[in-house]
Amino acid sequence: MTADDKPADPSVGRVLDDWRNAAYNCFSSGHKFCREVCPVLQVTHDETHSPTAFHANLVAMDKGLLTIEDVAADYVNCTQCGACELRCPNTIFAGDFYRFRTRTVDLVKAMRALAVENDIHQPEWQRWNLQTDELKAEPVLEGVSQERVADWAAELGLPIGGETILFCDCEAAFYRTSQPKAVAKLLLAAGVEFGLMREQWCCGGPAAEMGYVDQARRFAEHNIADWRAVGAKRILVLDPHDYITFTEDYPKYFGDDYDFEIVLVIELIAELIRDGRLTLTVPVERRATYHDPCRLNKRKGIHREPREIMRAIPGLTFEDVDHVTQWGYCSGAGAGLGIEKPELTAAISARRVEQAATLDIDLLVSACVWSERPLSEQAAPHAIEVCDLMELVAHAAGLQPLAGLNVAAAGD
């Protein structure tokens, strides 16, 4: 079995040069500590899609056993949650010594980009990104359009522009509109001044995650041009995926020119509660657990503030599962998995909800709008409701009753 004789595209050699050392480092370990925390493998049990295989494929490509055509589709099977990197002994036990870190997420992104560069497309990702390019927002539901990107804020009278901008994720802006509304009301109640963009496009992160890097870059350029045009210096981010894009992708695109302060809303809200600028008085008499969004917990190490907020909500019985145990948890929604393989996202979400169900809770609180749709779909049979942490806080602050939830409405 050898690869086809046709010469590989120069792009393949470039990626191999970039990743050869990392690939051999994983290959030479080969121990697969990553396997039991990978949310995809927990439902597929297919070693073909393990982080180990993702690295070994490059060794095999280097040896002429595989081509990008052979491997491209395998790299779909990843939510880019980062659990494998945390568990990797190469990072944990020798990383500082050798200034090395296993970066499976970046490897998966590089391989997806290499596939696109070689004109190998996954059909649903191609459709999704074409539509995103056309609509300037992700097609999260029928009727997405640039004209409606700020409809969620219609009743709030928010200004356009200013030093502080609230960036609203596509899923939040068009699908889960109650979430950005809750965020905006909380910020207003605490006296935080902020505005919206003149013309907000998708952050571009999903395109980068799926390998459509040129499109991702174009969207990024548009957005920071808009930020600059309105004099923005500080960007408030209400979604973990955008937070990754603005703190990891954009600095890579723009280098030292990228001088914006990126603020995660959850951290800001925790601070506002801590400082007494937000007061939570409406009790939520429910038994709840918290779902650590992968991009906060595993990618950014943010797990204290959400728990601090959960514990500040009156009436709430909080059944916590520690953030390390949650390395193995995921909704399955990340990095386009739900677009190309919705059945895997559903299975991963179902598993997450089952883990919550063992705690005898009735409320699963997340801090990532992308997780909330798939988790909600799987939660119904368990009599568990899914809600967003910011919406829960807005309820407890008496600002916005939780819609559809069986809790006492604000002011009752």
Binding site: R35, D46, A60, P89, N90, F93, G95, F97
Partner: protein, 502 residues
């Protein structure tokens, strides 16, 4: 012997009828990524080990039907669990059908009355113990690959546990198990006919026979495991020593001390101390005079561990060593699992850092011969490194070996780094020769080629008949009787020879 031919559509269709089309994997990546394990691997000969097809069955019945089909068609079958073994049990030597059992990960009821749980072979011990924690019990099989090895593979290799001196090894911890024979019959082996019975005088000892076969006698499809009370107390202590001889003597006294809570006694030799000083991030700095380490760990109820720890510390202190306190104990003992994969890099003789694979040559060595084997092994590896700078000697560990009986012999391992990226036929051949010499030395001092991993890899496997003598002929007789067409992991353990004179 089963022949290797291209699998035709009829066979693939047959497999799909058994497990469903989506669980018959024919892609290059699915097959190439199941050609190796962390055992030494001839990267330049990767293609030779790529299976023809991968199947992911979900039940014993499906496994049985796969094996029956393979037996009819004379196609090799290679079982694969975690693929984390340090010998090549899961590496296809003759291609064929790779049966990946990871989907069989069911977990049965936690039986606290009979202290047992029945699980599928695809269950990992770390995940299982995560689930068992609220019940106050655990399954104490604790290899270095604790976070990634699977129960099926542990049975297939007759695995050794770091806590074996206290709780036993896999052969002691698996009460009974179900296995699909090479001809497709499904049987259960244990203590007599009982699923959760701990001891029986009824019949032959078949449970032991079907353990450690490296997949040559069947595929495990379910296992009933021992549940022990979670220890109330753990105590581990590291003692620095000025010479290996002192460490060895101290270790011997501790091993023979008779305390039932001993989970393990461990020795590092000076080459191991040098290696961790040089290349180990988790290493805690030690004084220059330290040439060896003697460590021990105790697990059990507080009322047992506390007084035993006091006495063990008294024995260790009398040796003249220096206790290094909690810091290294917590870091190093708790990091034992992760040591399994620590060597991201080794060094060439001129000090150049290189990505190297870790290869652990383990043997069971009589306690009095441990100092001698240490010298002989290092001389063998030094000779290899002198000729081929892609190898690196990472020193020797020794552990108490026997289940519940931490005396008499030790599991010794010499760790060798290999820069696999640069393996070629010449260096591969030199490595195989080196392994054979390591194994020969182990036999010559009255030991066994392997205490933990198995002895089926190239080099050492040549000496298995020498080690086992007439018992190896019985192995061949059993193999031929149970696997008349040699379809089950053919080529392993030199067992192809069982079919040559019949």
């Amino acid at each position: 012997m089963a022949t290797v031919t291209a699998l035709d559509d009829r066979v693939l269709e047959g497999l799909a009828e058994i497990v469903g089309h989506q669980y018959v994997l024919t892609s290059k990546t699915a097959r190439i990524n199941r050609a190796r394990v962390p055992s030494m691997f001839a990267v330049h000969r990767w293609e030779e080990h790529v299976p023809q097809v991968v199947v992911l069955p979900a039940s014993a019945h499906e496994v049985s039907e796969i094996v029956k089909l393979a037996n009819r068609e004379r196609i090799p079958v290679v079982p694969r669990a975690g693929g984390t073994g340090l010998v090549d049990g899961a590496v296809p030597l003759n291609r064929g059908i790779l049966v990946d059992i990871k989907r069989m990960d069911h977990v049965g009821e936690v039986d606290l009355a009979e202290r047992a749980i029945t699980v599928g072979p695809g269950v990992n011990m770390f995940k299982l113990n995560e689930m068992l924690r609220p019940y106050g019990v655990m399954y104490p099989d604790n290899p270095a690959s604790y976070t990634c090895a699977l129960v099926g593979g542990r049975i297939g290799t007759n695995g050794w546990s770091l806590l074996g001196a206290r709780f036993g090894h896999v052969r002691n911890l698996v009460i009974s198990f179900e296995i699909v024979l090479p001809t497709g019959e499904i049987i259960r082996v244990g203590e007599g006919g009982g699923i959760k019975t701990r001891s029986s005088s009824s019949g032959y000892r078949l449970k032991e026979l079907f353990m450690g076969t490296q997949g040559t006698l069947g595929i495990v499809t379910e296992a009933t495991l021992e549940l022990v009370k979670r220890p109330e107390a753990e105590f581990s202590a590291f003692w620095l020593q000025r010479s290996y001889d002192t460490a060895w003597k101290t270790g011997g006294e501790l091993m023979r001390s008779g305390y039932a809570t001993i989970a393990g006694v461990m020795l590092f030799d000076e080459r191991k101390v040098d290696f961790v000083r040089r290349d180990d991030e988790a290493y805690v700095p030690q004084p220059d005079w330290c040439e060896a380490v003697c460590a021990f760990a105790l697990y059990g109820n507080r009322a047992e561990v506390r007084p035993a720890a006091k006495e063990m510390m008294r024995i260790a202190k009398a040796s003249g060593g220096e206790y290094v306190g909690d810091e290294i104990a917590q870091l190093d003992w708790s990091a034992r699992h992760d040591r399994y994969a620590t060597p991201l890099h080794g060094r060439t003789p001129n000090g150049q850092v290189a990505p190297m694979s870790w290869h652990c040559e383990d043997a069971g060595i009589p306690y009095p011969k441990v100092p001698e084997i240490r010298k002989r092994w290092h001389a063998i590896v030094d000779d290899l490194v002198a000729r081929h700078p892609i190898f690196d000697d990472w020193g020797m560990f020794s552990y108490t070996n026997g289940p519940y009986k931490p005396w008499g012999d030790m599991l010794c391992e010499i760790d060798v780094g290999i820069w696999e990226e640069h393996l070629d036929d010449e260096t591969w051949g030199a490595w195989v020769d080196c392994k054979r010499e390591i194994a020969r030395a182990s036999i010559e001092v009255g030991g066994t080629i392997s205490a933990a991993h198995g002895s089926s890899r190239a080099g050492e496997v040549d000496l298995v008949p020498l080690e086992l003598g007439g018992a190896y002929d019985v192995m061949k007789t059993i193999k031929r009787a149970l696997d008349p067409n040699n379809i089950m992991n053919p080529g392993k353990y030199g067992l192809d020879s069982a079919y040559e004179d019949g």
